[in-house]
Symmetry: C2
């Protein structure tokens, strides 16, 4: 049993990798920059997926599947899009033993190929809106890979919608931003600032990009989900025309939006501690590990295990959809068995020993605080339920307090530079500059504009000095 | 409203494509040999996936995700495997603006890359069995594509397991074959012969391959799912060794098994008719379409629609997990509205008109037989439930009777040839020949050995004349 997790204070990057390794979430693949998502990590992804998928369906979206490969020429149809993605493309040049006439790119995102299909499917206003989502793998070649955060291949969902009017498309963009915010905050317990991106941080080809921006426990920012208003840019590039209510041909207004396995990286870096992973109860595939223990292995297996299984069935049954796991690693030392579940971030550990059985209690240990509670047998279900709710709420509050404590205001560019350098975190300042100004700030401070603070906050730009600049959060980011 | 489905008798291939088009299941993509799975088709896939995924989890399997790309050299480690897949590979040769040192293949199946990870993860018998499944896209370059049946990219699941003993691995292979048989027969209502493949039809690299073999409504065979006992072939190629209970190093025994979006092709060609798609109720994403109708559009919308919504909610509520859809295409003619749902294969149509409302009844129309039933309001839930059960069972029985009626016995090779040519269908004959004999039979008759009939049927081989040959089904196949 190796408890080899580097403390965060010592080396945050190594801590992150150690947490992933100890929890068996993912592993580097024998393909440059790619990862394997191991069963424990994938079960968290399935849990995240199910929350989003239900919300997409509830808001009228349907799933579909579009091809992995995209003709090279498609990218060239939208100038900004090709410029943004060309450096990251992986190209299929040969197939079936022959050189292809035109190379194909492995999709980095699917606006182009989906646009080409929408152009075929959409004829009239009666066909609108089209509200389609796709769960799939995408590839963006990565020179400095980092598990879950930046890998050459990752899993995600991409929503692509087409509408009659700009207003409808804008409403859709914001509706999905709110779906993202709500699930990321309420289920994954990660507080986010949901707002607009500055011009320099927009998705290549978008008119406006919105983001859910989170703060990790090293005070760096992480973009956890984005929603784009694409205007008529892709509709014009791919000829997505429809006959409007007046009988005239018009271009659709489109949106796209996505979240990815990056969210698992965000989850790790928001909640986990020096002992390893912490998973918020609503996302945790296993919410409680039940551990029958005794100094005598045969007592544990023959006398206590049946009680543990009974308790597991009772919890699953009465708490509906709650998953418990009974630990049967009797050959290992109790402390090591405890540590395994702790490192995997299971929200609650339920210890069942001879003393507990005799006393008619179960010892419950919280993953987030380490607090130990002895619950009487007839109170276990209620106690577990309440503790899971408390842990969920505690993790969110803790992360929000941390973010708020690490958010600062700067009234000048010098002050912004100073805070980024000395304290890090989120720095709020009025900004009304150009993408070129953003580049300069990044080169000089390492920070980028992450999100425009929601609400009508206007003031004097710290770069140009012009009035009417919007309050913007700057930070170093993943 | 185009009712342009070519009759099966006239042109079966065109009928198949017309059914897909009319139901909006899939479309050819602007990438050679690839398809787009449209929302209606994808919702059937989601339904199929959920049945299999639940069964995999119930039998102790967990999901994970392995990389899309596989180093070219990996294929060469297993001689039969590379020979089988090399002609179908799509190769990534450039990425991130540079030529790759070693080209990567887009996975056609993942035994190799998963084997390389198992070699890292598995150390001791305590790590076994490893029971992992992956849902993903795969690519096998296809020169003669056909929607759902043969496309260069398709979606599937691939299970990959590693065990201590040959016996355990063999049991796993047969366990998953039975999971496949049970879901394909009981949920998708497709009768199959679940048994072993002959040597010439084995998966490249497998010791034994088992299949679920179905008959389509043109009497051709379709392989609906396969399960492979891989022996120690891949364990040796990828060095998957473990310390056994005696403390010695040993190679694992592995299996792999998969079903794909091909099952949607099988569903179409088993159940559908000249009016279009028929989806078995247990798989149907929409089990009943409720259609409020009136000559007066405003009556339909204002008076009848609320009743339809009420009925929909009642059915969903009381039949739990049953999905109804209320049709609101009031601008279309009732006959066209009926036909839309009919072409999409919705099991039941519930018509709600002024007369029905006055009489306190609902008119229910079965998709499979066209039978019309007027159910009293207080009997609607029960009637719908019973009808769905009846349709499910009717579809299976009909397909099984069709298969049995089109299965013939041949006692000589000449007879086999004659039956294949004159009648088609499944031809049962004793066969104990070599892969070369199989090639000769295919070249001379167009038929291949599809499956060895389960049970201990032995006799004199129609090719070699040797005794002890196994009763084998021959057929032309998709």
């Amino acid at each position: 049993m190796a408890r080899n997790i580097t403390p965060r204070q010592e080396n945050y990057s190594q801590w992150y990798l150690d947490v992933i390794k100890a929890a068996e979430l993912a592993d580097y693949a024998p393909v440059r920059g790619c990862m394997v998502i191991r069963p424990t990590g994938y079960s968290i992804w399935e849990s995240i997926q199910s929350k989003f998928d239900a919300a997409f369906k509830k808001t009228g979206h349907v799933n579909a599947y579009f091809p992995l490969l995209i003709p090279d020429s498609f990218f060239r149809k939208e100038a900004e899009h090709v410029e943004g993605f060309a450096p990251e493309l992986a190209m299929v040049t040969h197939a079936g033993g022959e050189k292809l006439e035109e190379p194909y790119a492995v999709r980095p995102t699917s606006e182009t190929v989906i646009g080409s299909m929408y152009s075929k499917w959409i004829q009239s206003w009666r066909d609108l809106p089209v509200l389609i989502n796709q769960w799939c793998n995408v590839m963006r070649w990565e020179k400095r890979p980092r598990l879950f955060l930046r890998t050459s291949e990752f899993l995600w969902q991409e929503g692509h919608t087409a509408h009659e009017t700009a207003q409808e498309a804008r409403e859709e963009t914001l509706r999905m931003l709110e779906v993202y915010r709500s699930i990321i905050e309420n289920e994954i317990a990660i507080p986010v600032l949901a707002g607009e991106k500055t011009a320099g941080e927009r998705f290549p080809g978008a008119v406006d990009t919105y983001t859910c921006e989170a703060m990790m426990s090293d005070t760096k920012a992480l973009q956890a989900g984005t929603s784009h208003f694409l205007g008529q840019n892709f509709a014009k590039a791919f000829d997505i025309q429809y006959q409007n209510r007046e009988g005239e041909l018009d271009y659709c207004w489109t949106t796209s939006w996505g979240v990815s396995t990056r969210l698992i990286g965000a989850l790790i870096m928001t909640h986990s501690d020096d002992d390893g992973l912490i998973v918020p109860p609503r996302i945790a595939p296993v919410k409680a590990a039940i551990i029958p223990i005794s100094k005598d292995e045969s007592v544990a297996e023959n006398d206590i295990l049946p009680k543990a299984k009974e308790l597991s069935a009772k919890l699953d049954d009465e708490l509906g959809g709650m998953f418990t796991k009974v630990d049967t690693d009797f050959h290992a030392r109790p402390a090591d068995r405890f540590f395994t579940h702790l490192q995997k971030g299971v929200p609650l550990r339920l210890e069942l020993g001879e003393k507990d059985l005799a006393a008619g209690t179960v010892r419950i240990v919280r993953r987030d605080t380490g607090a130990k509670i002895d619950a009487a047998n007839d109170k276990v279900v209620e106690t577990v339920k309440n503790l899971l709710d408390e842990i969920q709420s505690n993790l969110f509050t803790k992360a929000k307090t941390f973010r708020d404590n690490n958010t600062h205001d700067a009234s000048s560019y010098d002050e912004l530079k100073e805070i980024i350098e000395s304290k890090g975190g989120f720095v709020r300042a009025y900004f009304g500059g150009t993408p070129e100004d953003e580049t300069r700030i990044r080169e000089e401070t390492g920070a980028t504009p992450r999100v425009i603070v929601p609400g009508d906050h206007k003031g004097k730009c710290i770069i140009t000095g012009n009035e009417g600049a919007r309050l913007t959060v700057f930070a170093k980011a993943y």
